[in-house]
Symmetry: D2
Subunit: 351 residues, 4 copies
C-alpha cells in the first residue's frame, strides 16, 4: 500500500509499505478523509527525534476494513473516527484519569510517533472497541475528521481552564487548535472571549467561532490591552494555544489571582518555559497552570460527534484547502509555511 | 411607603410601611423592575410558615437611594441588581463555599422569608458591597432583572449537573427556572438537551432556548422515551426543575450509571422525597444527587450580567406579562393559577 | 476442581467444577487466602436473583497459575491481589471515570455475580494486566486480602464524602466496611470521627481504628446525640455503611447544609430509599448524596497495598475467625448470623 | 504600647506606638503567644518593598480586649487565634473561593504587610467574626499558635497536591512549612512520603512528623533517588516548600505524568521561575502546577484547632526556642541566620 512518510529528519515522501496486520483487539481502517496537523510538520523537523520511514498523520476518519477476533462493537464497513491519541485503557495512567499519558509521558500518542500514522491506504488501530467511534448519519466525513484532534484538544484546553459561567477568557493564537479553544470557551459558558491573533483570516474566523474581541499583538501591547478590556482585573482563564515561553508569560500576566492558565500548545523550544515570578504572585497568587494532551477514546469521540450531529458547531470553515492523497506532499509543503492562508488542509483519500 | 405583603397565610395586599433604615454596611434600593416568582406563591400559601405583613418579592433591579457609612463600591444613583439570595459573606457557610446556606439551611434567602422583600418602594440590602452589582450600560433593566434568581438558579443546576462536553442532558419542567436550566445546559456544553414539558407555549420556549428535543409526559412514557432517545443508555445528567418526588424518581431512572441528578426544584410536598432503590443501583451505581439554592453575590451577578451584555442570552421572551406596581395584586393572583399562559410577570415600578 | 457455590437461592455447597480456561487477556489465579463478605450472604439469599451453581466469593489473594498470550505484566508464580470489581477498562463507563459501572450499573462486579467467584481452587481473572496487583514483599496475604474490597470500598466512601481537613464525620455502622470508612475518614484528614454502633466488639474496633467517639443508637437518640457532639451544627460528612433507608435519613438529618452524604451500604430493602424532605432543605440545602461501588484495578490495588507496606493501617484485627477451605460451608453459615462476634472470617486455602 | 517593628529595610527595633483603634467590625487582640516566621525576615530584608515603622509578625494567639459594635460572636476575654491571612470576605476573590487573594494578589495578607502586625501589645483584627476562632479548652496557646500559618499553609499545599489515597508524595525542604506539608500529606492519605532535607535536626523532625524516607540532596542526586524510590515512575505529587526555581524544576522532574506540583514556598529570587520544558512533557504531560497562600478565616482556623483538640498532631516539637517579648529582637536576629538549630522561635508575651 502507499504511505506518506517521514523518510528522516526534514524529508518526506510517498513510499510503498506492507499493509498492517490486525491483532485480536485491533482494527484496520481505510481512511476516507484526513487532516494535516502542524504537529506533523514539527515531527518531520525533528521534534520527536529521528524517525525512518514513519508514516505521518493522526487525524483521520474512514471505513473499517477488518477487525480482530476480540473486537465486539465494530465490524467491516462501519464508518468511524479514530482519535489522534489511542490510549492503552488498562494502563495505570488511564485508570487514574490520564489516558493520554498511558505508557509514559504523552504515551497515548502513537500515530506518527511510535507507530505508523494515518496517511496511508490502511491504518492500524489498537484497542479498536475503545478507540473508535461510529460517525452518526448526517455527519459528513469532512466535518467528523475534526473530532480526532482539533476539537478534542481545543475543548480540553477550555475544560482545563475551569471557566466560571460568565467568566472572562483569553485565547492566545487562533490557529486551528486556538479556534477550537475559542469555541470551547463558548461551550463552557464564557461570558467574554478575547482572541489574540494578527493574521486577518484567522481574526475573522476567531470572530466567526465566537470571540467577542480580537487583539492584534502586532499593534498593541497585548498584556495592557487585555487588562484594559477586563477593567484592570485580568481574565478568569488564559489559554496558550501557541506554545511559547513568551505566550505563557503573557498568560500569567493577564490572569487574575485565583484564575487558571491552561496550555494547549506544543512547547518546542528552549530549555525552560519561564514563569514571570512577580506576576505569578511569588508562587502564591493561586494562578494555577494546567496542561493536557488531546483526549482520545470512544466516549470522548462520541460526545464530540454529537456536538456535530446537533449542530452546535461546524468546524469546516477551517478547511481552507483540499487535496487528493496523491497531492499530499504538496499539501504538506504548503502547511510547513502556512502558504496561501492555509489553516487546515484536508486530504481526500477518495478524490 | 407602599409595600405588597403577605398579610397572613393565603392573604395578600398593598399596605403602608415605614421606609427601611440603612445600617453601616447596607444600601437602600429603589426598585425599577421586579419579577414575581412561583416561590412568592408558595410563601403566601404557607411554605415557610406563618408570616404577618411580610413584604413579598426577591427579584429586583433598581437605583441605589442610600448607602451605609462602610459601603465602598456603590453610591446613590447607581443602577444595580441585587440577588434573590443575599448571604452573610463572613459566615462559616460562605467561607466553606456554600454562601446560600449562611446562617443555617437556606439562610442566605432573606427577602420575603426572614425580612421584607423587594415589592416595595424602598428595599433594604444587607452587605451592599458584596450583594449588589452594577448593571452594565446597554443591558436594560427588563433583561437584567433575570439575573437575580432565574438565571442564577437555572445555571447553577446545570453547573451542579457536571455536564461533560457533548453530553446528554434532560431538564424536567420548562417553567422559568427550567428554561434557564436548558440555557445553562447549552452554556455548559451539552451535546443533546431533552426538555420535558406539556404546555405548548413552554415547549416552544424550550426549543427557542436550546432544547434539541421536547418530550410531552402527557403523551408518552417519559422514562421510556428518554432512554429511547439515548440509545438505551440514559443521560449523563438529569435536572429536576419542578421539585416533586415523582420527577426526582424519573431523574434517577433516566440517568446512566456514573451520571448526575441535579435539583433546582422546590420540594414542597410529602414527608419524603423518594429514590427508586433498584434504579439507583442499590446505592452503588454512582448516580449522585446534587442540590443547591440560587447563588447570590456581586461576583455571580456580575458574571451573569456579562452574559447579557455580550448577548449570550436574552431572557426577556419569558416575560409574558407586564404590570404597574399598582396592579401587583392582580399580577400575583394570575401567577397563582398561571393564567393566560403566564410565565414571568414583570412589575414595572416606573409605569 | 472444588468450588463453594450457591446451588440456588438459600442453598450452598462444595461442588466439583471444571477448571476455568484462560483467554488471551486473562489470568488463572490459585487463591491462598480469601474473605467471606456479607454480600455473599445477600447473594445466596437472592439479592441478585436466581443463580445456579455459581461459585461464591470476591475477596482473594493468591498465586498466578497461568496467563494469556497478551498478558504483559504478570507471570506464573506471581503473588497477587485481584479486586472484587474487575472492570472492562476500555468501556465508556471506565473511560468516563466510573470503571465499576462498566457494562451497565454495577457491571464491573463480575465475581459471584455474572461469573464464578473466588471460592474455588482456580479463579479466572479478566483483563489480568489491569485487574491484578503484585503484593509487595513484607505484606502477608492475610493482610493483603483486605485491599480487594473492604479497604477499597470503605476508603471510597471517605473519598466521596469530600471531608475537609479537620472536618467532622460520622460513620453509621461499624461492620468491616464501616470500620474501613472510619480508617478512611482518618486518612482523609477528618478532625473528629463519630462512629455509630451498638455491638461492643465493633465499638471497640471502631475506637481502635480511629473513631473519636462512639454513639450507641440503642441507648440514645442518634440524631440528637450527633448534633450535640457538633455544637448543634451537624457534621461535614455522613457515611452510610449499612444501607437502609432509615440510616440514610439519619445521615441527611445530621449533615450540615453544604455537607456530603456518602453511601457505602448495599440498599437491599424496599421500593424506595427515602430522603427526609424538610431536613434535606426542600432540595436546596446543598446536602448532596454520593454513591459508589468498590473501585478495582491495578492502580487502586497497588496504592492500597502501599498503605499496608508502609504500615499506615493493619486491617487484620477484623479477622475474627479463620477456616480451611474444607470448612467454608461452616464459615458461611456462621457469617449468615454473625455468630460468635464474627466480623470477617478468613478462608485459608493452604491450611 | 510597645511594638517590634521594621524601622526600614534591614533594621528592626522595639518602638512605642499608639494602641490601635477598633472599628465596628473589628477586634483588638492582646497577644499571649506568637511565632516568628521566615517571612518576617524576608520582609525586613525588602521582600515587600520599603516599609517604615511597620509592626512585624503574623502568627499570634491571644485574648480579645475589645470588639466593635457589629461583632456578634466574640467578646472581651475570649481566648482566640487569628489567621496570618485576614481576608475581606465580601470581596469578589473570596466569593470565588480565593479569599487569600481578596483585594488583589496576596491581598488577604495584611499583617506586617499592609498594616501593623502581631508583635505588639495590642493587635487590630479586621472582620473579627470572620477572622478569629475560639481556642478550645484543652488546647494550649503554645500549640494553637501553629494554626495561624504553619499548619494552614502546609496542609493547603498537601490539599492542592490532590494526593490520591495511597499515593507517593515528595516534600522538598523540611523547615516549619515543609514539616507541616509532611503532616498534611499524611492527613491526606499519602501512602509513601519522601522528605528532602539535609539538616539532621530537620531530617529527624521529618521522620517524627511522618516521612517514610528522607533524601539528603547534599549526598545524592535528588531526582535520581526519588525516581529510584518510586520504581522509576515518579511521584503522584511533589510539594515545593522552599521556593526556588531549582526546587520547582526538581518537582517537575520527579512527578509522573498526570501528577501534581504544589507550591508552598515563597519564590523570592530571579525574574523567572523556570519549568524544565522536556520533563514537563512539552506542556502536555498533565503535570499541573498549583499554588496558594495560607487560607485564613474562622472556619479554617476552627478545623485546624479541632485537629489539635483531638490529638491528630502536636506541632510543638517545632518550637526550638522560647523568648519573652522583651527579647524579641534577639530572637529575630537568631531567626535571620537560623542559629542554634532554630526552627520556630516562640514569643511568650506573658513571660
Amino acid at each position: 500500500m502507499k504511505a506518506f512518510v517521514m523518510l528522516n529528519i526534514g524529508q518526506v515522501g510517498v513510499v510503498e509499505k506492507d499493509r498492517p496486520t490486525c491483532g485480536p483487539l485491533d482494527a484496520i481502517l481505510r481512511p476516507t478523509k484526513g487532516l494535516i496537523c502542524t504537529s506533523d510538520v514539527h515531527t518531520v523537523h525533528g521534534a520527536v527525534g529521528e524517525r525512518e520511514n514513519l508514516t505521518l498523520g493522526h487525524e483521520a476518519v474512514g471505513v473499517v476494513e477488518e477487525v480482530g477476533a476480540l473486537v465486539a462493537n465494530f465490524k467491516q464497513g462501519d464508518r468511524v473516527a479514530v482519535g489522534a491519541i489511542t490510549p492503552d485503557w488498562g494502563s495505570d495512567a488511564a485508570q487514574g484519569g490520564h489516558s493520554s499519558q498511558s505508557g509514559g509521558a504523552l504515551g497515548g500518542w502513537k500515530f506518527a510517533n511510535i507507530k505508523d500514522g494515518t496517511f496511508a491506504e490502511y491504518v492500524h488501530v489498537n484497542e479498536a472497541d475503545a478507540n473508535l467511534a461510529l460517525i452518526p448519519k448526517g455527519v459528513p466525513d469532512e466535518s467528523a475528521v475534526y473530532v480526532c484532534d482539533m476539537m478534542s484538544t481545543g475543548f480540553m484546553a477550555a475544560e482545563n481552564a475551569k471557566i466560571p459561567i460568565g467568566g472572562n477568557v483569553v485565547v492566545f493564537a487562533q490557529g486551528p487548535v486556538g479556534l477550537m479553544c475559542t469555541v470551547g470557551a463558548r461551550l463552557q459558558g464564557a461570558g467574554f472571549v478575547i482572541a489574540v491573533e494578527s493574521v486577518p483570516k484567522r481574526q475573522e474566523l476567531a470572530r466567526h467561532f465566537g470571540a467577542d474581541e480580537v487583539v492584534d499583538f502586532t499593534k498593541v501591547d497585548v498584556v495592557e490591552r487585555i487588562l484594559e478590556l477586563t477593567n484592570g482585573e485580568g481574565v478568569d482563564a488564559a489559554i496558550d494555544a501557541l506554545g511559547t515561553s513568551q505566550v505563557l508569560q503573557q498568560c500569567v500576566k493577564v490572569t487574575k489571582p485565583g484564575g487558571m492558565i491552561s496550555n494547549a500548545g506544543y512547547h518546542g523550544d528552549g530549555e525552560f518555559v519561564e514563569i514571570p515570578r512577580v506576576e505569578w504572585g511569588v508562587g502564591m497568587a493561586e494562578k494555577d497552570i494546567a496542561t493536557g494532551l488531546c483526549p482520545g477514546g470512544h466516549l470522548r469521540l462520541s460526545r464530540l460527534l454529537r456536538l456535530l450531529e446537533t449542530g452546535r458547531i461546524d468546524p469546516t470553515p477551517m478547511t481552507t484547502h483540499t487535496f487528493g492523497f496523491d497531492e499530499i506532499e504538496k499539501a504538506f509543503r504548503m502547511m510547513e509555511k502556512k502558504e496561501d492562508g492555509m489553516i487546515k488542509p484536508m486530504i481526500d483519500f477518495e478524490a
